[in-house]
Symmetry: C3
Subunit: 212 residues, 3 copies
């Protein structure tokens, strides 16, 4: 399972990194759109539709990556890691889409300021995820890669704290049970996106260690 | 990890496919019972008990498959794929059982028509899953296999849409918060079963690609 | 992937088992603290902080194990199994911490007796998990190992039943929807911890089978 030879990437091997970069760009677009939806809370239906389209594009990249993986004899990093990075990146975008859908499904008419502040972490974390995907192919020489991973972990920790604060505020201030149900669910999903980003970062960290 | 020789299955290798077929038959029985429970909403306790028994039978097949896997030197498809197919099939039946239990746990006295329509997708998808298990052993020659996988994916998409429509209806029409909590949870589980079926189909798709 | 030689563990290979033991000790401390928090429901904030610290210690062990794994050429059991045991043990402690946080987040002022009875299964199951970690390195000769695994499975089944009973009681007796939301969520997490313990036990069972 381990690879001991020099880390030189051939053109066909490089395809994996390109797919990861393309997928990450789409995830970032999705994350930015979600934040735009939340800060400019109008035309919700149309904005959700655009997020759906981007999620579907991202799906295609993931599918192409796995298809390419199943046809490749040699891979630049372990097969399992390619599979996991593709799968977990897909989870990030799925969770972002899930949040967007909730605003329509739960018939949310106005946003809580603390929800917006919390969700602002999503584009920040996904931006770092995108940087990580671009650094991966030069991991042997990259000085930035561990900084990026630490930053994604830091954002997840900040998110954990905000998640708990928002929940505490929700349960101590909101009397309408249906509102509690809606926002509890949305907060859980925001926290999940940040977790998903950290999962990708942790897999990449493992890959870097193996090649160190 | 890859296998390059001709895809010929010996008798002992064939055991894996038989176990998958047997497990799938039990899952289908479970799915049909759940739908029967929902359409003939009487004797709930007895019907749940029967679903529990079938889930337990299905558990045994999964356990036998993994036990057999751990003792086998040669497998007809990658070890990880056998493990994943067994595990994800188990997830399908676990989620079906979980739905059945909810009707008792949540003290549900009458069913929503849209819930029944939504849940009708479960036996449809599991029926296809069973077909898939029977086609797997002849994957090299099977023309049906990709049709089946596409159909399972299509049913998951239909389910996604119905899930969102049912949720929107629930949150816009139901004033009783406890009813909202109950049905939100049931809808999430119905959607999960369809996701679980798609997960199995996607793993089989990967297996077919590797052997193409 | 399989190992056919005699099961003799070198000093450097033994590190994996030591890390599992150390992590399990921390998980048990966490489980006991959670139960103490629930039975002596005072100083909640301080008790949660201590659980957080222990969870963070446990995280370090898991991280060290995976780091060590990525640097090791030879491992006493399959690489995937080491990774999975580390990851699932982390899930146990994460779920325990999540329960503790909920008491503060949901502003829970008094505990239900049936919740305490249910949660009492957690230290019982984690105690067995710790025993399992100590038996793993002598798996060839251990007579206790299968007893322990059976006991963890039994506790999960008992938990499943209690989970359903507690939910039934909650939905039939509680009129306050927000209380229903809180306790539904806490019960789901208690059941999840017992599931996570069973997951670890099942992986170890697979490891034992491979080496039988």
């Amino acid at each position: 399972v381990r690879r001991f030879f020099m880390f030189r990437i051939t053109k066909s091997e490089g395809v994996f990194f390109e797919k990861f970069e393309e997928a990450a760009e789409k995830v970032l677009e999705c994350a930015n759109l979600l934040f735009d939806l939340m800060t400019n809370y109008t035309d919700i239906g149309a904005k959700i539709k655009r997020i759906e389209c981007l999620e579907s594009d991202c799906d295609s990249y993931v599918h192409q990556t796995i298809e390419y993986l199943n046809k490749s004899f040699i891979t630049p990093i372990d097969r399992e890691d390619i599979f996991l990075i593709a799968k977990e990146t897909d989870d990030v975008v799925d969770s972002i889409e899930a949040i967007a859908h909730r605003f329509a499904m739960y018939n949310v008419t106005s946003l809580r300021p603390e929800a917006i502040e919390f969700a602002a972490l999503i584009p920040q974390s996904v931006e770092k995820l995108k940087d990580l995907m671009y650094e991966m192919k030069k991991m042997k020489k990259s000085k930035k890669i561990s900084e990026i991973i630490i930053e994604i972990n830091r954002l997840e920790n900040v998110g954990d704290k905000m998640y708990r604060e928002n929940m505490t505020k929700l349960f101590s201030e909101e009397d309408n049970a249906i509102e509690v149900v809606k926002w509890k669910s949305i907060y859980e999903l925001i926290e999940k996106v940040l977790d998903n980003c950290e999962d990708v970062a942790n897999i990449v960290e493992g890959v870097v260690m193996k090649h160190a």
